[in-house]
Subunit: 221 residues, 2 copies
Amino acid sequence: MTYRNVSKFVIKRLPVYLRKLDNLISYDVEVVSSQKLSEETGFTAEQIRKDLACFGAFGTRGSGYNVEYLRDKILKIIGLHKQTRVIVVGVGNLGKAFSRYNFINNPYVKIVGLFDSDTEVVGEKIFYLKIEHISEMKKVLVEENVKVAILAVPAKEAQKMADQLVADGITAIFNFAPIKLKLPPEVYIHNVDLTLELQSLIYFSSTKDNLVDLEDAFGNF
Amino acid sequence: MTYRNVSKFVIKRLPVYLRKLDNLISYDVEVVSSQKLSEETGFTAEQIRKDLACFGAFGTRGSGYNVEYLRDKILKIIGLHKQTRVIVVGVGNLGKAFSRYNFINNPYVKIVGLFDSDTEVVGEKIFYLKIEHISEMKKVLVEENVKVAILAVPAKEAQKMADQLVADGITAIFNFAPIKLKLPPEVYIHNVDLTLELQSLIYFSSTKDNLVDLEDAFGNF
DNA sequence: CTGTGTGAAGGAGTTCACAGCG
DNA sequence: CGCTGTGAACTCCTTCACACAG
């Protein structure tokens, strides 16, 4: 039995479960049902059970899931059981905000390097970590065996920088730059494009059944 | 003919087309085929044609789509044909970064208010716009008839603030706070949770067919 | 002859319903 | 009896294949 081909949709829900489980642990809750998790997360109980079933049978029929056991299982599934090391490339507004945010909110992912090409920001600190020049990047990537990079450089530098990251051993990129990176297929890219996301939100802002909205846009129909 | 029930997946792709069309316009390209758009965006040509077909027939058989005409159509479909006014609530790291980013990158969405409860940041400027105290919010919402809010306050304040926004007429929320907002179903919520997104990225960082990764995680299988 | 528009087929994700175990 | 685990049904999105218009 192998776990190839687990849907991306499933993987995206796992961290949601993880967060809820961590929360339950902090309240000393020991057992949780898929029904309870459903109420907390908004996903259906069946879906939660199906998601977990992709990776094995972790529950106890009649009672539910052991919270701590399930949390540890999910950590291992995602690969967060040993703290993951990442670097941030491009420490402008967005890179800075992301870094500060991650330091505070994400115990499972550790930023081990902040890099920028702008000598203006090099030397600045974010919490305990000093921003270094891009030229120092490869050294850190190799020493710390980093596989994940957060790319928050301007659009026109993004492709070049991504190529360099891949050449230096990066296998997954969290990309804030508003361009479609062209990289080997084995590199996983996750794009966060705030402009696009906000624009599509606008569509839904007038009314949820968009009848009125669209009739207005197409007087000709 | 009405346009109810256009899939969210379609709507999310429209801004991608929009950006490419704007780009083509800046290069004085007048006509574009779905094939060309496919190469540029990474979506299949059939999908692009199907997406556009949800809203009418905009192309010319044999040649393609008139770039400017299609751009204007998409603007109207999304509702961006008249600049949309939004406010930003919570101007910490993330709110600040988002605002600066939007000022520069998003010509179609105008930020008309920046609000925070922290008197420390009130008075600061982001580009030409001054950060105001939350107490001023309602006035701006009404005067400018704002329907969309970007919520970037700490998690524990988010629900209370969201309730207030909805009470003041907001119909869509772009939510950066890492909680599930409980709001009336007619309010559209788009969550951007960087911690969750980064965590799920980790899963894909070891290898794209996650066989090895998972066998390692479940030695017992 | 080229490229759009679209019904039909295929594939993927979700929900349903219930068997089965504690 | 309660809650998990899961095949089957269902829904929705994508891809295919081709008719049709310029």
